[in-house]
Symmetry: C2
Subunit: 237 residues, 2 copies
């Protein structure tokens, strides 16, 4: 497994808008946000940067996987967190999850990419260090603390991924309202509703009361933190 973080970053030429890792990853982010990860090809990134050949990029990022690593780490960089946790672990982890979700909503491809590559970038490390710091001082052994961090961030990723899938379905058809979405998906959905084996799923589909996604996210997060507070951090408040 070859990681970008092992390669030295080339210097770039002085004068003029030459290449750099930052310019490359910025272009890749724009393409992925607009057209999905599949659209992030070496050639397209290169031409977006005014380079006539994909090979220019290889000096900077080593290959396609390198671009992916940098993209993932750029998302971690967008999760803004105060310099130091507040000392209230619950408030801190809530902030982490909320801002994490916000960043992941901007970059709907995050979950899919993150499962192809390990995340060892500097911003991911900083992110995890901050989270561990929020939990420090309660006598948890490191493995347990890390496990809690994983659960909370995993929840944020999972939730954001659900939202991303729905939103991607939505604008893959070019619809706006819920009614239009249901209309275009009628061919699949009708079969499910008509099938007597799925009464509760059908009820969920047909009775879909409009939910506030922010409130739902917060509720789920509170459930998770309640459980952690009661079962793992009971004696530490």
């Amino acid at each position: 497994m070859e990681l970008v973080w092992d390669l030295p970053e080339p210097a770039g030429r002085s004068g003029g808008p030459t290449l750099s890792r930052e310019r490359i990853v910025r272009a890749a982010l724009e393409i992925a946000d607009a057209d999905g990860t599949a659209a992030v090809t070496m050639r397209r990134v290169a031409t977006a940067l005014g380079s006539s050949t994909p090979m220019s990029l290889y000096r900077y990022v080593g290959g396609k996987d390198g671009i992916h690593d940098l993209m993932l780490d750029a998302v971690y960089a967008e999760i803004d967190l105060p310099a130091e946790p507040s000392g209230d672990w619950r408030a801190d982890l809530t902030l982490l999850a909320r801002n994490g979700r916000r960043a992941l909503r901007r970059h709907r491809w995050f979950a899919a990419l993150s499962h192809h590559r390990p995340t060892f970038g500097p911003n991911a490390l900083r992110h995890n260090e901050w989270a561990l710091r929020a939990l420090d001082g309660h006598g948890l052994d490191p493995a347990t603390a890390m496990s809690i961090v994983g659960m909370v961030f995993g929840y944020a990723v999972s939730y954001a991924q659900g939202e991303a899938e729905e939103s991607r379905m939505r604008d893959s058809i070019g619809v706006r309202t819920d009614a239009e979405l249901r209309d275009s998906a009628r061919e699949y959905v009708d079969r499910i509703v008509a099938d007597p084996r799925y009464p509760l799923l059908s009820r969920w589909i047909t009775e879909a009361a409009p939910v506030d996604p922010d409130a739902q996210f917060a509720l789920g997060l509170d459930c998770l933190l309640d459980g952690i507070a009661g079962r793992v951090l009971a004696d530490a408040g």
Copy 2:
């Protein structure tokens, strides 16, 4: 978005081991389990089935995405659940999560694939219907029930994905013991441990006490269910 479930399944010729969706997806599963999703190419699946050309498959699965859909649904089919939930929602969701994780450990590519395609297969539907049934009768509105199901299964997927990543790293180098793993990753890891910005991460790396993954999984799940019990299902037991 073109789904496999819309295409009629061809009949196959009588006599002799001809093609079928089941044979195709079985071959794809074997390849993916052994060599990862990237190794699941049309040509390789075709030759694994004795077919001399990849084009044979198109009649059965419509294209690559169709194979992916079928693979995902096959994993759902492997999550064995009793015909009916027991009536104890907590025990039922625990069973769902535990057996889900077990299936996902056999197929480490599940999470990565599932984020590329929506899951509308019959086994996924059956799975979700069962989960909703486990929560039925407590007066939850459908959206909340679905959200709980998503949280619980999302936790299982997320946890299994973490395990999968570690295990994949492990056998991408061909190591067996934890010590060997740490040795081969020393180049990256040493830089992290040496960096003064990551004291708690370093502590986690160096002090990694051997944890029981089953216990850790169960603990996290219990946290989640505790919170759900207290905050959403408080009055229903």
